[in-house]
């Protein structure tokens, strides 16, 4: 039976993980994601489902514990926030290199450095451009509601096990901390050890039985040709993700003359901006990438033939805007608008930016001499 509850985003994700039959969680406290580990610990998961929950000595240890459990075919995840996710990058690179299924949650806060504990989207580059060392990518899901914080757990594990690859849920302090109504899915049983072996025994280190060769989990290839073959294998997965597992949402795009691109919490605010603009007769649409990799490149390329300009709205100093520009191949003006670290833009500020930067083509003087068409 599904169940309706009022929950924080962090708690909804944690509860969804228990219900999805996840085998293990390893984490370390950091604001603004700490409710996630606190909630799991409060649930006595070992008794509820047999799920292992352990507070590690560091984010580094936590991600390497994820690597260990994932190497045996277990469903395992970790969560942290920006500075902690920076610490995890080496481990994430190993997980990608060793081709292991695992889920990482980043409840983003402002940065660089210790930054602020307030919400931000400044980890876009880190999330979609690698983050750690080497030629790899993460499949990145960006929830924009507490419901999606819950729903994306199962989606993330499905992708992780489909590709044997790490999946990142890129949330932020806003989605993690806010309370909303959430429909929780019914409890699923965790796989038995025999089921894990049946599903993952061809590659996982579950103990070498006489009927098979030993399984080895490593990302080391001392021979360059083997290294290159591994990278090519990864690239094939990423191509397949782009073909089969791209996710996005188009809101009021059909007749749009102007386009806003925004994900996660920014998309929530941008949606309101679109409503206000429409009520004033200005045809604005919203493209919300749900996956940041794969990115809706073709959709943006096509929309660039239709709209007069695009505003990339992000809670950062301008990161996704680069991908929007690349995707549209500079066919139309593309600008960025965003505040950083805890200063959340209002729908009105978004519209003001749209008007100044896109509709009036950057001409402030022009804007001052005419009546605002939107606000």
């Amino acid at each position: 039976m599904s169940e309706l509850k009022l929950m924080k985003g962090n708690e909804a994700l944690a509860e969804a993980a228990i219900r999805a039959g996840v085998d293990a969680y390893f984490g370390y406290p950091i604001t603004p994601q700490t409710e996630l580990i606190e909630y799991l610990m409060s649930q006595k998961t070992e008794e509820r489902t047999g799920m292992v929950c352990l507070q590690a000595e560091s984010e580094i240890a936590a991600i390497n514990m994820v690597y260990g459990a994932a190497s045996t075919g277990k469903k395992v995840f970790t969560s942290s926030s920006s500075p902690g996710v920076s610490l995890k990058q080496e481990g994430i690179s190993y997980i990608a290199g060793a081709e292991l299924p695992a889920v990482i949650v980043n409840v983003v806060r402002g940065g660089p450095g210790l930054g602020t504990i307030q919400p931000s989207q400044a980890d876009y580059f880190q999330s979609v451009k690698g983050g750690g060392h080497g030629d790899y990518k993460l499949y990145v899901l960006a929830p924009s509601s507490v419901q999606e914080m819950s729903d994306f757990v199962e989606d993330a594990f499905d992708i992780a096990f489909k590709y044997n690859a790490p999946v990142l849920i890129l949330s932020d302090g806003l989605i993690g901390q806010m309370m909303e109504k959430v429909e929780l899915k019914p409890q699923q049983k965790r796989r038995t050890d025999a089921e894990v072996i049946a599903q993952c025994g061809s590659w996982a280190t579950t103990g070498k039985t006489k009927d098979r060769e030993r399984n080895i989990i490593t990302s080391l290839d001392l021979q360059s040709e083997k290294m290159e073959a591994r990278v090519h294998r990864l690239l094939k997965k990423y191509e397949q993700m782009e073909k089969e597992d791209l996710r996005f949402e188009k809101i009021n795009c059909d007749d749009a003359e102007y386009l806003i691109v925004a994900y996660g919490s920014s998309a929530r605010i941008a949606q309101k901006a679109v409503e206000i603009a429409r009520s004033k007769g200005v045809k604005v649409g919203l493209l919300r990438p749900i996956t940041l990799f794969p990115f809706p490149k073709k959709q943006l390329f096509d929309l660039a033939d239709q709209v007069k300009g695009i505003l990339s709205v992000e809670l950062n100093a301008g990161q996704m805007v680069e991908d929007v520009k690349l995707s549209t191949e500079f066919k139309v003006p593309v600008e960025h608008f965003g505040r950083t670290g805890g200063i959340i833009h209002t729908p009105e500020e978004i519209l003001e930016a749209l008007e100044q930067k896109i509709i009036n083509n950057g001409s402030i003087r022009h804007h001052k001499t005419r009546e605002s068409s939107i606000l």
């Binding site: 085998d23 293990a24 390893f26 292992v52 352990l54 590690a56 000595e57 560091s58 580094i60 240890a61 936590a62 390497n64 514990m65 994820v66 690597y67 260990g68 459990a69 190497s71 045996t72 277990k74 395992v76 080496e90 481990g91 190993y94 060793a98 050890d193 280190t205 579950t206 103990g207 070498k208 039985t209 006489k210 030993r214 399984n215 080895i216 989990i217 490593t218 990302s219 080391l220």
Partner: protein, 257 residues
């Protein structure tokens, strides 16, 4: 006895360790790693637990341990083997999980993971090969490099005033309530090999008791890194390493000796 009689199976007194693969060992001639590998695999074979054993390989000379040990193995990032093993042991509590690590891996970059896995009393075995140097990268100073000892990054000898003193990880972890068996061995003579094997066996048997971590240090040589012949390296080890890292049990059945 005729040659044909000698090679009959019933007359065989020694053979290649069954759980070692046929891959040529990548270790330098005279290095203790090969013997430590053999002993670990002999114990697992004799206990009949190969199907239930999962090994964790480190970064360092023994990064390729999985090429030689014919069991399921996961290779960990530098220093993180105890964290990796923690997760495997927690999610597969009936398995025999061990790490095989060198001194740079375990006592420098992985200090936090080592201390905390020991402190939590994870139900795993840690085999710690300490040769006082970074072998894989070509002879740099390790946390266990002896005072005055030369390496490529302490070319005038380790100056403890600026470089710190060698860290005795084994004595350190023995203080933690989570460790159940802590011992220091060597594998450079027949006598020591037999003792070391006994220690490794005890460590693996402890996993059945679920009473905490078993930590087996093996003081070893690095004739390449030390720039000595194998025989000279063993002699040097006896004269210099053993006084600083004395052999023997430090903690047995959860009690300090």
């Amino acid at each position: 006895m005729e040659v044909l009689d000698i090679i009959k199976p019933e007359n065989q007194v020694f053979c290649k360790t069954k759980l070692m693969t046929n891959a040529a060992l990548s270790y330098c001639p005279g290095c203790g790693h090969g013997t430590a590998h053999n002993l670990t695999m002999e114990v697992i074979d004799e206990m009949g637990i190969a199907e239930d054993t999962i090994g964790v390989a480190p970064v360092g000379c023994s990064v390729l341990a999985y090429d030689f040990m014919n069991i399921d193995m996961t290779q960990a990032a530098h220093g993180r083997a105890p964290a990796v093993a923690t997760a495997i042991a927690r999610t597969w509590p009936e398995k025999y999980v061990f790490t095989y690590q060198g001194d740079g891996d375990l006592a420098a970059i992985g200090t936090a993971e080592t201390i905390h896995a020991c402190n939590r009393g994870e139900n795993i075995v840690i085999i710690f090969v300490n040769n006082g140097i970074y072998g894989m990268t070509g002879g740099q100073m390790a946390p266990t490099t002896l005072p005055g000892m030369k390496s490529t990054t302490s070319p005038f000898g380790r100056d403890v005033k600026t470089m710190g003193s060698p860290i005795k990880m084994t004595e350190l972890v023995a203080q933690l309530p989570g460790t159940y068996y802590v011992t220091r061995q060597s594998v450079h003579t027949h006598k020591n090999v037999r003792k070391a094997k006994k220690a490794i066996k005890k460590a693996f048997e402890n996993i059945k008791l679920k009473k905490g971590i078993s930590f087996v240090e093996i003081v070893s040589n690095c004739n390449s890194g030390w720039k000595m012949t194998p025989n000279d390296a063993n002699k040097w080890m006896e004269d210099n390493m053993f006084p600083y890292y004395p052999l023997g049990d430090i903690k047995v059945n959860g009690k300090l000796k």
